[in-house]
Symmetry: C2
Subunit: 437 residues, 2 copies
């Protein structure tokens, strides 16, 4: 048996380094190829990396050269040969080809190096995710998800999956997706927070991590109809504690991405100096401070108004790292936020605005823990008290100060990657005009 | 300042061991209390464990005794004192009480040590999760989720979140939840597999982990309308490889639970010897072997029929660990399963049946990778070809052998915990007649 006839061990490209100088097999797809006299360069991707394979006519023979020549982009193939370090090769390793087996010759691949329109790429999302930039973004997404989970797991938070089907509309039905639930109406969750509060009373500290839904009629680049949220909730935590937790979490995420995904950050051409400066402490300013900043920047704004996207950018542009704005006018915030005991007009909520005009990525609050005040708020907002009966129970049976927040996963991925649009940050984005594939 | 006036460090009960002999503060809820002459025993839970606090009149004074006496079950409180090992105490540590602060006196708690009906407990699920057994099951759920994620992350699978909103019904609409999606019909996903296949072609090996939905009209203890699924999918993997992966995963989960959750397994009164025997290799039998087993056990059964719940129990009862049944009649399996090249009547699918009559916990297959055969199957089953166009693209552009499977999270949790009904395995179960709280 000649050397070329044995099949060496299958190795994923990202794991090739320890096999330097050894014979391996790589299974993947043709990324591209080029020819230089009696040499063929076959660049293979296997989903974990790309590797250049070098074939000389003398080594592999006419037959393999013919196979290489008839292979199209994204054809599937299995190659074997000796791997060795080659600093000039993409990924740093190169394979001296010994054998090549075509698995399938692909039809003419629709996504080519030329420019494609967004609609075309979105229609081909199932293939587009193979492209280098999309691949890199989704690997960074994976790393961010894992960092977030590790952050909470290491701190012994209990994962607490809230229901997706909810019986009542928490804050109006206009942005809710509705479904028929065996004759009843059910709504898809917009937030697991209320359930998370029940979890915090049972487990002390919990986090939810799941999809949430919003029937946004807006077509902006900052909105998806289906997006993933992380919502920690902690008993015996106050507003400051929630801001500390959010700050620690963001720093943890950045450290993880910068230590493990530099390769992918390079692919997406991210200016990593913008991420390296995300260190504690993050500035914390009150809503009133933020209004002052707007006024100093000649933005017409009245105390009491909601801070919109453009205003957020003006405020966050004053800082080189995320800024936390807290103590909002209670009137513009949700009924469940605790009022400031010092000033009843203020709510103990906070938003974290990411730098570079990225807008709000975290929104949180200390929750109202007083039964009577919470009831009063529910009545003032004309919410159906009966729907909140179980939620009110949390204030009847051992109420404690507690706080939490929500982090939007896709906005975080977009910020880290410098992606202009959320559609690149999730495998199959769902938007008002996009339900396929 | 006396010792009792300083506030010692807040410590979670599960983290108390390193503080043996030191003063700490515990923040939680009154679990129960008893009195013995001039001693009061105050058992506090904080969501991470329970700790007995011992108060002597001489140490704490009349005022604290009065506070203890007026406290009701689940009242919230903050206690400080010196913690020390006490083997007889629940959790192994005891606190000599120095100070006690009532946060809130709870109203009369609806869940008492007396027996309650299931409907009552389900109506009070937001409180029921504080009970010891429910708390233990959900902590085990957390550990199983983490074990599954660690298993795939360590093997460098990329997390790939499939969409929840899907445009088309994969296998008929009768068990699908439908929603109006800006004038179009959208369905809630029953499985991320088809999208996962696109992911496997882009990333080599992926796993999905998210909620899936089924409008089951059955009220059995084995069905939820909303449940979490893990679905790995791997390019260049065959049926045997998928069974290897599923086997390794289950063994990994069991090891993790047995090394970290013995306390909780004790609470749920699980016979852990049943879990300790879950070791490799798991028996693998063909569908035809399974039919033979049924016949030997005098179960009337025809080759070609689907193996139902009772038959699964008969088959799995022959083994002391999970059994994998493979090579099913193609006619009873999904269109996307690859046919056995040796025998066109068989599909390269497998089910893993858990022991103790727990039924199917894993279902998987090698997928059909030939475009023409897949098209033929779609036409035979009268499925709308257009809806699968993007899925067929995966066979047009670099098709490769690939395989994967789905694991039902709640069924796994129920098996590990020995829970008779799935409703205990998720924080807020959703069933045909249960949408609240």
């Amino acid at each position: 048996m000649t050397q070329a006839e044995t099949t060496p061990q299958h190795v994923y490209i990202e794991d090739a380094a320890p096999f330097d100088g050894q014979r391996i097999t790589v299974k993947g797809w043709l990324y591209h190829k080029r020819s230089s006299g009696k040499i063929r360069f076959v660049v293979v991707r296997d989903g974990t990396g790309i590797m250049q394979c070098v074939a000389s006519l003398a080594d592999v023979g006419e037959r393999v050269f013919e196979d290489i020549d008839r292979m199209t982009q994204e054809s599937s193939l299995i190659v074997s040969g000796t791997v060795h370090a080659e600093p000039r090769a993409p990924g740093g390793y190169e394979l001296t080809l010994e054998s090549l087996q075509i698995v399938q010759i692909a039809e003419e691949y629709p996504i080519t190096p030329k420019e494609h329109g967004t609609a075309f790429l979105m229609d081909h999302r199932h293939l587009w995710i193979r492209s280098r930039r999309q691949h890199a973004i989704l690997r960074i997404r994976h790393t961010i998800v894992k960092a977030i989970r590790d952050f909470f797991d290491e701190r012994k938070f209990t994962l607490f999956d809230p229901p997706i089907f909810t019986p009542s509309a928490c804050e109006g039905t206009s942005t809710l997706f509705e479904t028929d639930y065996f004759g009843e109406k059910a709504y898809l969750t917009q937030s697991g927070q209320l359930y998370g509060e029940a979890g915090a009373m049972a487990f002390g500290k919990i986090y939810t991590f799941g999809p949430t839904f919003r029937a946004e009629k807006s077509k902006t680049r900052r909105h998806l109809t289906e997006f993933w949220m992380i919502e920690p909730e902690v008993a015996y935590l106050d507003l400051d504690g929630a801001m500390d937790l959010a700050e620690d979490m963001i720093v943890f995420i950045m450290d993880r991405v910068l230590t493990t995904r530099m390769e992918e950050l390079k692919v997406v051409e991210r200016d990593v100096s913008m991420l390296e400066r995300i260190k504690k402490p993050f500035p914390r300013i009150t809503y009133t401070d933020a209004v002052d900043i707007l006024k100093k920047n000649d933005i017409p704004f009245h105390w009491g108004d909601d801070i919109g996207g453009d205003e957020e950018t003006t405020v966050s542009n004053q800082f080189d790292r995320p800024v936390m704005v807290h103590h909002f006018p209670a009137a513009i915030k949700a009924f469940y936020m605790k009022r400031d005991p010092q000033d009843d007009k203020l709510a103990l909520g906070f938003d974290m605005l990411a730098p570079e005009g990225r807008g709000e990525i975290v929104g949180g609050a200390q929750r109202e823990d007083d039964l009577d005040l919470l009831l009063k708020r529910i009545h003032e907002e004309n919410l159906p008290e009966e729907a909140y009966d179980w939620f009110l129970d949390l204030r009847r049976f051992g109420s404690v100060p507690h706080a939490g927040y929500g982090l939007g996963l896709e906005r975080t991925v977009a910020w880290v990657c410098g992606a202009p649009h959320l559609r690149e940050t999730i495998p199959f984005p769902r938007m008002m005009s996009r339900l396929k594939p």
